[in-house]
Amino acid sequence: MLFIIFRVGDDRYVVDAKKVIEVVPLVKLNHFSNTANYVAGLCNYRAVPVPVIDIRCLLEDVISRAVMSTRILLVKYLDYHHHEHHLGMIVEHATETISLEVEQFHRSAQHSSENNYVSNMMTDENGIIQWMDVDRLLSRHDCGVLYGSLAEPEE
């Protein structure tokens, strides 16, 4: 199974490549008011506004560095009602894909909160790789704020 690997600080994370529509450079974003601080803004993706979140900000409360290797992963996000939306994820060091077997991952112990987006992890010679579940990135509240106000007609 193919994953896109990126880093948050020194930690490595992967997302399922099938969830990713496109990897684009860090484009300029429009301000999205009254949202959580990890929401970086709105990106005009093919004439449709797409909320973009900063993964480093979500995890570490530090804004991702504006360098070439920091990119936006445009992913298919499935909300709590199983509606598909587009979501942008700003991630650092998104320069590589990696092929990993699902069996290599261990289920992690913590799955208490509703947004336990890192549920599986594995180790290789360079350390731990954590699998980020895109669909669990947003809390129910944030999801409502991001997609409720956009009122994007689906289907």
């Binding site: 860090l26 484009v27 093919r46 070439m68 290797s69």
Partner: protein, 224 residues
Amino acid sequence: MDEQIKNCWSTIGVWGAEDEKCPRLDDVLHCRNCDVYSNAGRSLLTRAIPEDYQDYWTSLLAKEQTRKSHDSLSIVVFRLGDEWLGLPTITIKEISEIRPVHGIPNSQSSVVKGLVNVRGELKLWVSMGRLLSVDKGGDSDTTVLRKNFLERLVIFVKDGEQFVFPVSEIIGTHRIWKENIREVPATAANSIYSHLAGLFELEGRHVGLLDQELLFNSLQRNLV
């Protein structure tokens, strides 16, 4: 990352002039297989984003995606004198260096120039310029050396028959969307236009797409 990149590949690596070679080379054979080299390459991406690059991508992403058409045609584009022409890649068996042509005694055809030896096989050398009435072109600005340097032989194959013809220059293989291929103007009466299936634009040039059937039929008619 502000740290200086250690360019070991140009000191003790394969591009190095020193006698002492990197011990890793025993395993990886070439620097490009070495993770030190690839990591150094990736670290180049750890630089600030140029402003215009960001602007360009912002506007590019905002645009509606152009409709993806799966109807495309792979075309080898070449120059014949002053004319830019293309043939479907599928009809071209090979592109080779210019080889000497051996004349056929008592040949009446103006199109057939002779025989050419391509890897031990004798093939018919035809003059496309003569067939299509294309001038060799006044290569005033190109030197003889450059002219010879660019010339290639194209081996055209159709229904098992092969024809070899020289072209002035090969541009390469391009994938052209069928919707971008325009029709040939009906008023064009030139011999070249009667062999065209369509016209398309490539990097500012107008390229005529040769109709393989017409070309093949025309070649066969002109054999004798």
